[in-house]
């Protein structure tokens, strides 16, 4: 009876479990090599369901066992583990064993940071998290980069790190823009950037890694994932009122993908943004004597930004592409066009120092109309591998200028200027490394021609020609260099470089005036052959590079019209030394010293007088080669604690130039003539700077203090009298920016004081000095997150007479409302309605006082669409 009851109980239990659908699923999970995988997440679903009903984890032997209750006919088992491809299997709903084999797969996890410390370090790379570093009023990534300790950015947007220009600017480790990285820094939004990496002591050529030490740094932008694989940018349209209607249009698009990047920019405005003043910030070539003879601003440049006084119509377009053809191979194609039509008015009062303490004051009122265009095309192919670096860069550039200056004051003159310059260049470089031997070959050819360049000054009242000066020129530059090196010891390098630099110049000039001078024709060549043995020593934190260049100078210049010629065929030894020492990981001392000689220049044989403006006559040479020796010494001490946001810089510089010629100028009411005479002249330039910056990341406070001092001593002739010129400049500047109330209010304050002192020994009563001061305060207010109101006040004080200051105050402001993808902006300028700006400056012995007519109060309303 008892046995029967027991059997009945078991049957009932079995029946119950069968009715309830409880099954037990077991199995073994292995990896691709057959090893058991512990910790695998095993989930069981009813077939077709999205939520799992039970789960289990594999044990140390890779086994799982899961009990499941379900009425479904079929179940699905899914196995997942990070680093492996998920596997799933549909199985009948009954107790059984099911084994799995998981194949390895790349980890596919979104990288995300909600809250991050501002700085990470990894060897020589500092990684600045942008979201933590940025301020509320930052518009572009340049505003964020500016706050990185050790970084300074000049007015053109050029970035320096610890006093040295950066040598590369990367976006996702690709160098698309070369020296034109302001296209990125002044346009990319901070919200699209994840981090800014600073590659300290960056050697961009992999083949020279650990062999050639670099003092320069590079910057790399890492974009947020949402900014990759799709175009990001903005389109803007704006209209307003000022001195007539104001307008602006802009399209900016950046696309960054794994194997290619593209940047397109097109912009136009008459709201004082200029495009032709940009330059390549990582080097460039010259166009010869003719290309640079007529100055872009012949009647002075303003200390006030161009946006205050130039009435413009400007347009630009830029297309930049880089393609990664293989891991080490890239192709870059860029094309640019820019055009500026400017009008501006200013007066220039020039106080010339004459003999016997006399002065001559010349007043000029100029109404200028400038028309400038630039275009360029560049192709660069680069292979950057660990054993070989090979690059070829072809570029074609052209620029035109058509300017008109209407002058009044001391003399009524209308001066036209035209200039066309076309240049084409090719640069080839190869560096190879095999074991301990490093070899290199570099060849660079540049041809620049100035087929047309002239000024034509007329008397508008009498409608007569005052002077017409034409210049045409050609410049050909070719360099070829090769080097052989051998790694000595662990990281030292002994190398010998052989280089040949050849140049050919031609200059033709013609002049028509009241007293015309004979035309000029000059040409000449200069070949410089250099052998430079160099020893680069690297001992832990110390690096020393010492080289002695043995140069053979061969040149011959001709004054064809004058029947003169000059030659120089001699060798010269030029030593140079670069020393770098890093200690405590945050301090570094560098010392650069060099001694060099140039045997003369092409313009030494240009002895015919040429007009650069209606009253400035230049004679560039004195018919003899001017031998010039240069000695430079530049120590620099850097201390940087990036994680604490601290940076110190102390630097000095000394330059001595000794030459065989001296500048001589004569001034009268009608003309200023500059010539050169044979005389020994020395120029001493001494300077120093101290800078400290502190960035308090936690409270968004940034501070910078800088002091500069420089002194110049040289001699010159004025009115036949020898004058000893001593000029000293002292400058103190500070900058502070921060936010309060959880960054709802931001402030940026910059102030600078500058004293210029000048004495001309040999001229009575020549000691003069004047002070300039300026301060700018920008306040930003965020009443709520999407709305920014800002105002900028600029105060300037210029000492126009001893102890008398002319003060000016400018007020600009604006409102910015961000609504998801749209942004509405109102920009207001010169709300105080100032119409004139005055500045003074020394140029050698003379004092120039400028008064510029400013743009009136004006505004522009813009609508931006962000994508």
């Amino acid at each position: 009876m008892r046995t029967f009851r027991l059997m009945l109980l078991c049957c009932l239990l079995l029946l119950a479990s069968a009715v309830r659908g409880q099954v037990r699923l077991t199995g073994l999970v292995k990896d691709g090599e057959g090893k058991p995988l512990p910790g695998v997440v095993v989930k069981v679903y009813e077939e077709g369901a999205s939520d799992f009903m039970a789960y289990g984890l594999t044990d140390r032997d890779g086994r799982y066992a899961i009990s499941v209750e379900s009425k479904a006919a079929r179940l699905r088992i899914a196995c997942a583990l990070l680093g492996y491809k998920e596997a799933s299997l549909a199985v009948p709903n009954r107790t059984a064993a099911h084994d799995f084999r998981l194949a390895e797969a790349p980890i596919d996890i979104r990288e995300v940071t909600v809250k991050a410390p501002p700085v990470n370090t990894l060897g020589d790379t500092l990684i600045y998290n942008v979201d933590t570093l940025r301020g509320a009023s930052d518009r572009t990534i340049e505003d964020v980069i500016r706050r990185i300790p050790g970084v300074s950015i000049d007015e053109a947007g050029g970035i320096q790190y610890k006093g040295e220009d950066i040598n590369r600017f990367y976006i996702e480790d690709l160098d698309m823009l070369g020296g034109r990285y302001t296209l990125a820094t002044q346009n990319i939004r901070p919200e699209d950037v994840l981090s800014v990496d600073v590659y300290e002591n960056h050697q961009p050529k992999k083949v020279l890694k650990d062999v050639s030490f670099s003092k320069q740094a590079a910057l790399n932008l890492r974009l947020k994932k949402r900014g990759m694989m799709r175009p990001v940018g903005d389109a803007t349209a704006g209209a307003g009122w000022g001195d007539g209607a104001t307008w602006q249009g802009r399209l900016y698009a950046l696309m960054v993908a794994t194997g290619h990047q593209h940047l397109l920019m097109a912009e136009g405005n008459n709201f004082a943004t200029h495009y032709t003043s940009g330059r390549s910030l990582l080097g460039g070539g010259d166009g010869g004597a003719a290309a640079g003879f007529f100055a872009d601003d012949p009647f002075g440049t303003a200390a006030v930004p161009a946006m205050r006084y130039r009435f413009n119509r400007s347009a630009m377009a830029s297309v930049n592409n880089i393609f990664r053809l293989s891991p080490d191979l890239t192709l870059t194609v860029t094309a640019d066009y820019a055009a500026d039509l400017d009008n501006y008015d200013h007066t220039r009062q020039t106080d010339y120092l004459l003999d016997g303490g006399r002065h001559l004051v010349v007043n000029e009122q100029a109404a200028s109309a400038l028309k400038r265009q630039q275009a360029g095309l560049q192709l660069r192919w680069e292979k950057n591998a660990a054993t070989c670096y090979l690059t070829d860069e072809l570029s074609v550039r052209g620029s035109t200028a058509r300017d008109l200056f209407r002058l009044g004051g001391s003399a009524a003159v209308r001066q036209r200027r035209a200039s066309d310059v076309v240049g084409v260049g090719n640069r080839l470089e190869w560096i190879g490394r095999k074991g301990r031997r490093v070899s290199s070959v570099a060849a660079n050819v540049e041809l620049s021609t100035t087929p047309r360049g002239y000024i034509c000054a007329t008397d508008p009242v009498a409608d007569t020609l005052r002077v017409r000066q034409d210049v045409e020129g050609l410049a050909l530059r070719a360099t070829a260099a090769t080097s052989l090196g051998r790694v000595v010891g662990r990281r030292d390098l002994l190398s010998v470089a052989l280089g040949v630099a050849a140049s050919y110049d031609r200059l033709t000039s013609r002049q028509e005036s009241y007293a015309p001078a004979p035309p000029g024709r000059n040409d000449g060549y200069y070949v410089r052959t250099t052998v430079t043995p160099t020893y680069s020593l690297s001992r832990g934190d110390v690096s020393l590079k010492a080289g002695v260049a043995l140069t053979m100078h061969d040149l011959r210049y001709r004054d064809i019209a004058g029947g003169a010629a000059a030659s120089y065929h001699r060798p010269f030894v030029s030593p140079r030394l670069n020393f770098f020492w890093r200690w405590y990981d945050f301090c570094s001392l560098t010392l650069d010293a060099s001694y060099d000689r140039t045997p003369g220049s092409f313009t030494d044989l240009v002895t015919n007088a040429m007009y650069s403006t209606y009253r400035d006559v230049q004679t560039m040479g004195n018919g003899e080669l001017s031998l010039t020796d240069h000695f430079t010494l530049a120590p620099r001490l850097n201390a940087s604690l990036p994680l604490r946001g601290l940076h110190f810089l102390l630097e000095g510089r000394y330059m001595l130039t000794r030459s065989d010629r001296m500048a001589s100028s004569t001034v009268d009411a009608d003309a200023t003539g500059t010539t050169f005479v044979s005389a020994t002249n020395r120029l001493h330039l001494t300077g120093g700077a101290f800078e400290v910056t502190k960035n308090c990341f936690d409270i968004y406070l940034y501070m910078k203090l800088r002091a500069d001092v420089s002194a110049l001593r040289t001699h010159m002739l004025r009115q036949g009298l020898r004058l000893g010129l001593r000029s000293r400049t002292f400058a103190l500047s500070g900058r502070m920016e921060g936010g309060v109330l959880d960054n709802r209010m931001t402030a940026r304050l910059a102030a600078a004081w500058r004293r210029s002192v000048q004495t001309a020994d040999g001229a009575e009563g020549s000691r003069t000095h004047f002070d300039n001061m300026n301060a700018t305060l920008r306040l930003g207010l965020f009443p709520w997150k999407k709305l920014e109101c800002y105002a900028t006040g600029t105060f300037t004080a210029t000492e126009t007479e001893p102890a008398r200051f002319r003060t000016d105050f400018y007020l600009d402001g604006g409102i910015r409302l961000a609504l998801r993808r749209m942004e509405l902006g109102l920009t207001l300028r010169n709300l105080t309605g100032r119409r004139a700006y005055v500045s003074r400056t020394y140029v050698l012995t003379d004092v120039y006082t400028y008064t510029y007519r400013l743009r009136p109060a004006e505004g522009l309303l813009t609508l931006k669409y962000k994508f």
């Binding site: 512990p38 910790g39 695998v40 997440v41 989930k43 799992f52 789960y55 984890l57 044990d59 140390r60 997942a80 583990l81 990070l82 680093g83 998920e86 980890i107 996890i109 979104r110 990288e111 995300v112 940071t113 909600v114 809250k115 991050a116 410390p117 990470n120 370090t121 990894l122 060897g123 405590y584 990981d585 945050f586 604690l641 994680l643 604490r644």
Partner: protein
């Protein structure tokens, strides 16, 4: 993979809270949950191949001040925790093979760091835990000793509001090796370590180092001062 958490502990006796950053380094067979500042010291030294002088190490250490945080090394194959606890001169090391959570899965969802998370609850050694795990990250562990869920734990807190651990950053690792020191530690059982830590924190004056070193306080002239009797900040993660 590396996951950085922000861990907030509240000492209800002292009425103080402390927030520290921890990093969970995930390898094939080992995971390590430890102090993020100590990780950065190791990372900086690793970048120099550990060719660092004492001065260099001191300067790096001063940049990343570490506060004697515990480390938790989990061996996924052995299902075993090895834990460092620190107090002044002493480093205690214990193994824990019985850290098992009996989770109750709940249907609630939330988002942490952009990841969809599901809720689970369990009581572990006297403390009730709520954990939010991400099914999209198929790893069965998380910060501290939290494990056994079908996804990485991104956020967890206890029922008394004294512990809160939340993910703030997820990233690929930078190949920094997982290091866990065994030499120089006092090996003992978990319960003994727990009692020692409780005693040292509650009454620091009674602390006696197992190394034999003694702690004394002195003023600026070297005159001895009495040892502090004030309780130190202490919020246990296990009550039994």
């Amino acid at each position: 993979m590396e996951f950085i958490y922000e861990q907030t502990d509240v000492d209800t006796v002292l009425s103080r809270a402390k927030t520290n950053s921890y990093i969970l380094q995930v390898g094939r067979e080992l995971t390590l949950y430890g102090d993020y500042m100590a990780y950065r010291v190791d990372s900086a030294c690793n970048a120099m191949n550990w060719q660092v002088t004492h001065a260099t190490f001191d300067s790096i250490f001063s940049l990343y001040p570490s506060g004697q945080m515990p480390d938790f090394l989990y061996d996924t194959r052995a299902d075993l925790f090895k834990v460092h606890e620190r107090y002044l001169f002493d480093v205690y090391l214990y193994e824990d093979s019985t850290a098992h959570f009996d989770w109750t899965l709940l249907p609630d969802t939330t988002t942490v760091c952009g990841y969809l998370c599901r809720k689970a609850e369990a009581t572990f050694r006297g403390i009730g835990w709520t954990a939010w795990y991400a099914p999209d990250i198929p790893m069965s562990f998380g910060p501290w000793k939290l494990k056994g869920l079908p996804g990485l734990v991104l956020w967890a807190y206890d029922d008394k509001g004294t512990h809160d651990i939340k993910l703030i950053s997820a990233r690929r690792g930078n190949n920094c090796p997982i290091t866990f020191k065994r030499a120089g530690c006092f090996h003992m059982r978990r319960e003994r370590v727990r009692k020692l830590m409780e005693k040292n924190k509650a009454s620091p004056a009674s602390y006696k180092s197992l190394t034999g070193l003694s702690v004394s306080h002195a003023d600026g002239n070297g005159n001895p001062r009495p040892l502090p009797v004030k309780r130190k900040f202490y919020v246990p993660y296990e009550l039994e």
